[in-house]
Symmetry: C2
Subunit: 149 residues, 2 copies
Amino acid sequence: MSKLWGMPDRPDLAAMAIPLTRALMAAETPILREHGLSMWAYGVLLGLDERPVRTQAALAESIGADKTRIIRVLDDLQRRGLIERSPDPADRRVRLLSITPEGRRLRDAAQAGIRRMEERLLSRLPDDDREAFVRVLRILSALPSQEFR
Amino acid sequence: MSKLWGMPDRPDLAAMAIPLTRALMAAETPILREHGLSMWAYGVLLGLDERPVRTQAALAESIGADKTRIIRVLDDLQRRGLIERSPDPADRRVRLLSITPEGRRLRDAAQAGIRRMEERLLSRLPDDDREAFVRVLRILSALPSQEFR
DNA sequence: GCATATCGTCTGCGTGCGCTTACGATTTGG
DNA sequence: CCAAATCGTAAGCGCACGCAGACGATATGC
């Protein structure tokens, strides 16, 4: 860990994370397109299972989207029978969101394609390193934003 | 590494990398702003030392920018005396780019602030894990895009 | 009962960005 | 010598997105 004349020992995290994220997204896009999904649509399908949400706004927040902007996405997913929206009897303002079996199948198929791409990518790494990387990425990505200061 | 009923053992890499990258960028922005730098300006200053470049287009490519969009950034950095552009005697179309001592100082100061933020973030991790994470991130971020398929 | 808040929805505004075109100047290669 | 390519530059177009405001319907709290 030596520093040579002001040269940092490693690039900034963001300087590495940005191109990686760009490349991952670029790789995902055609895979998702094969399944007729945009990245936001896929994000919605992911968000509907991993974390049960009872308002659209909460879903939007959990997937990092703008609640107003995902309306169109939700409309389309609903039209295609991939999600359902039903009124919440406990609060008539709210529409409960759920994924249909068909939605689950499509999401899982897309995810399998993405997983294959990822495994090819990670296969160049030693097992320890890839496990540590995933572990740390998971921890850091789940941190609340006030931890980044 | 067990899979329970179609539930993946981990989220997609992008699903983790995207929020992390967003958070890192959001954290960097005020640090850079304190030094009067936008993210692209900072990217230019970083790109001018780590990889000598002889055309503006090559610099833009190396930092993931659009060559037409960074003209304004370069203009501003030059106006502030942070970079220099000089004609290349070997090719009169080209303007050679270099960072000034002042530019280097500003970049290093900004980078020190970012490094402090990052160390605070990474300090919650075991040493092995953080080293492995940085090592892998470095490797993956440097891969050419055709490796993501 | 009523002021305030929240839900989903629609729309507007401003900004940034990818990509393209066009241009003048210069270089390259046949 | 000349066609094609490349450089930096300026600007246009379309799109995505963050954010905000407005609205009708509904819920909450005093």
